[in-house]
Subunit: 403 residues, 2 copies
């Protein structure tokens, strides 16, 4: 097999851990695989360099920041290549440039445009282990760029797509994706596999492990992703396309998002286009809207409830104040003490009764449901934050996810 | 004027010192000059990275070492560019690659083949300060290379030649070139200017400041070099071609080299080509020979004395043992307790009596001269090491270098 293995900052945090990574790569190579390794900077390095830049300027040139930050991954890549070669397994390190990773020129958050894997393929053909400095690429005009948060994961997924790797393994300090957060429900089980779409819906479960950007790219490039831990040999979770998963579970996991706030508009003026005006203005002010409920109030005026991330709440308040001032909305109230509980599973597509079970479970725990939204593979409910853990445990039990 | 300013590791050793460098560059720019800055890695960084590499391998791939080490200068270059831009002076950092520094592919001690200063010239034309990562280049096949010890000085000199700079300033923690080592003779004076050839002969005086490689390159490219300190505004020493120095001093300086050992061969077999055999074999074993004296001994056999650097003495001994074993040489003795004192000055070319004064000065101090060698602009004497400092002071005084 051709395998891409990506190791993050904590996995290469010191020289001993880099040696551990080398041992794991060698083990994979010895098992008869070709390996391309993607590495991050040693943990702490990037933050140190950012602090250096901020010492000189609150707003340093993004191109200079990229020049600065891209040095960290070079160091890890060359050290790992040296360690591998010393163990008798010829290895060569490559910068993003050498690996052929071409991006747009949006410095510090560049997007990969194309990968020209000529140098990587040549080295693989020569039997070498390729070690690529993650997080970085080069723009069409030849300047170093970086890919922003989670950039090394993106490098790994994009490379796996470009060289048509059989597997892209993302190593972190978490052993995989669980049916729910084990800190809330100790009976949570690690999933063997999960579809891209479920993973995207379960973002809050996997956020510490994988960013949605990487999962979306893996889906687009049809890359088989595995998340697993670099600190043991434990198997991880395979994220792949739905068709590859033979036995589709009804429900794969329960996600919890406490980072939500509810905005309730009472007495929204009865004129055409008022809802459009409200949500356009929120969007113009970069407020992300999640769920929306509208119902008819008294006097023909409507009530509208919607949820926003807590971090966007102040911006939302400013926008709503202007509507109140212009008498387009009678009254606005805000509630930060809410949370969103979501049930995710591709099996829902073909089975009925999943939603009904969610509602009856909430009812039997005396938890009031404020808002509901559903998609083909997800049911989300807004409830009072104080019931968050209780709801997660009750649902985890109701769908027998510990079995 | 177009000025290249090079700052070494101690000059950019921490963030405060980088800010000091930025202040100095801005001052030069404000005075109406265009400036290209060449920087080393922050002091300690390169050694740290070398230690990392050696943790994994006693003999790491040189290409990987170059990948590793070249990261240090990138960090300094981008930080300085950020600091300069923040001060209102637009600056752009460049890697060796971006600056167009093309080298051969001898990793860790590459030689600069050509510089394509297109990007530098464009940035200068736009009024920008260019900050180049020193010590590094790129080989014709696109891999990062480094230039070895003193590499950043070479970068600066080569860039100054390529962009036809009026001046190339090398900033260190030493304020210039002195008539002799001030620790030996406190009356030593800093030279205003000195010719390339004198500087090369005075290597032992300037070794801490400038390597001969850089002076040789400056001579070849006709670059006006200045060595000065980054810790004060004191003027430095201009190293330029002899024609540029109006008033040529008889003697410019007294150099001392304690790193010499004498090899004395007694009874060298009388056959044609024996001397050639000896010195060819020494050369084949990488022993550097400095002075050679041959005189006729008894029985028609010759005596040969020569000097080698102390570090080459063991290799020389091994070679000489083989000649003794084959009865080509009767006896060999070694003396590490010697030193070489040299008097350097372009004025010697046109004045007689310089050598005579040296010999009479030694005689008046009762110092025995073991060996003598002379060139057009230098007289070197081998004497017992215990007289080293006395000889330097006596000669400094005899040629009135403190005046």
């Amino acid at each position: 097999m051709l395998i891409v293995q990506k190791f993050g900052g904590t996995s290469v945090g010191d020289l001993e851990r880099i040696q551990n990574v080398a041992n794991r790569v060698v083990k994979t190579k010895k098992a008869g695989n070709d390996v391309v390794v993607v590495v991050s900077a040693m943990s702490g390095e990037t933050n140190k360099l950012v602090a250096y830049a901020e010492h000189f300027s609150k707003n340093p040139s993004r191109a200079e920041v990229d020049m600065l930050l891209s040095s960290g991954e070079r160091v890890t890549a060359s050290l790992l290549a040296i360690a591998l070669s010393e163990m008798g397994f010829p290895a060569v390190s490559m910068t993003g440039r050498k690996a052929g990773i071409v991006t747009d020129n949006i410095h510090t958050k560049a997007r990969i445009e194309v990968i020209n894997p000529i140098a990587m393929n040549e080295a693989i053909a020569e039997g070498k282990i390729v070690v690529v400095a993650g997080f970085q690429g080069v723009s069409q005009d030849g300047n170093v760029t970086t890919l922003g948060r989670g950039g090394s994961d993106l490098s790994a997924v994009a490379i796996a797509g470009a060289i048509k790797a059989d597997l892209c393994e993302i190593y972190t300090d978490v052993s995989g994706i669980f049916t729910t957060d084990p800190r809330i429900e100790p009976k949570a089980k690690k999933l063997e596999h999960i579809s891209y779409d479920e993973m995207l819906e379960l973002a809050s479960l996997g956020a510490k492990v994988l960013q949605n950007r990487s999962v979306e790219l893996a889906k687009k490039l049809n890359v088989n992703l595995v998340t697993r831990t670099s600190f043991s040999d434990e198997e991880g979770t395979l994220i792949t396309k739905e068709e590859n998963i033979m036995e589709k579970p009804l429900v794969s996991g329960i996600a919890l998002d406490k980072n939500q706030a509810r905005v309730s508009l009472v007495g929204v003026k009865d004129r055409p286009g008022i809802a459009s005006d409200i949500f356009t203005k929120l969007s113009d002010n970069n407020v992300n809207i999640d769920m929306i409920i509208q119902n008819v109030g008294h006097d023909g005026k409507a009530n509208i409830d919607f949820t926003v991330p807590v971090s966007d709440l102040n911006d939302a308040k400013a926008v709503m104040d202007s509507f109140v001032k212009e008498s387009e909305v009678d009254e606005v109230s805000y509630d930060e003490n809410i949370c969103k509980v979501s049930i995710v599973g591709v099996g829902m597509k073909s089975h009925t009764g999943v939603a009904a079970k969610a509602f009856s479970t909430m009812a039997s725990e005396n938890i009031n449901i404020n808002m509901i939204s559903t998609s083909e593979i997800k049911i989300s409910m807004i409830i009072a934050e104080k019931y968050a853990e209780l709801a997660v445990r009750a649902l985890h039990n109701a769908y027998e996810l510990d079995k």
